[in-house]
Amino acid sequence: MPLDNVVFWVFAPISIASAIGMLVMRNAVHAALFLVVNLFCVAVMYLLLDAPFLFAVQIIVYAGAIMVLFLFVIMLLGVDRGDDLRERLLAQRPLAILLAIAFIAEIFVAVRAGIGFATKAPDGFDAVNEGGNARALAEVLFRDYFLPFEITSILLIIAAIAAMVLAQRRARVITQAELEQRRSPSTDRGSAVDDVDVAEVPR
């Protein structure tokens, strides 16, 4: 048995098991950690498919940056609240599982009819990866796909600005009189400013 077959048959079950683990975990942090395992397994698959650059990008961007962002937001929103798994629609759960099984069967039939389960990858990928995968990718990226690459950078800037606009809390400076009002519990007008961040103004 060749080594890459062994690696595939070790990591493919782990990736499927971790995906299922992500689905059944009530705790969001556990689900996120299962997703990290899954992303790592997919990264190993990239390595098997002769894409070492995407392997590194997958681990750095997905398993690193994106999952840290996810865990950060989970911590921000409170870890202890588990997912409410009660169904409000009667047949949603069986229908969803049935749909997934049907989808897997469909993929199986399509793959068998389309490329066949015996088709090995052709030789000659080393010639495509001339001078290393990253170098070959860079040549394609900066020659044939240069305009999409630049547009992607604009997209990233827009996303960063959008995230800042969406997540910012509207803070306003309140006056000393309002602050006094907030501190005295007898007046009821102070509750109007409870939901905004208070930046205290020094005298």
Binding site: P2, A31, M45, L54, F70, D84, V128, L141, A167
Partner: protein
Amino acid sequence: MRTPIAYFVFLSGILFALGTVGVLLRKNALLIFMSVELQLNAVNLSLVAFSRMHNELDGQILAFFSMVVAAAEVVVGLAIIVSIYRRRQSVNVDDVRELRW
């Protein structure tokens, strides 16, 4: 590289189906979002597999772009979830019903 390409494509199909189940069954918006990430990853895997199958690098480039777009999407989506949480102290998608008929 002797593992048949179809195995990778089939694995990607399984992962996509599991991600779909997650989107349909979970109630927590964060977990739905993670399931969407799972689906995006599954599609990336099939793109890289097809790139290997055809001896072309375009599939890897497309997977690379999809990773970038996924990163942007995560940033905006998480910001939306945080602002929903601020407004109603919940990320359960059953509680967000303004746009429901």
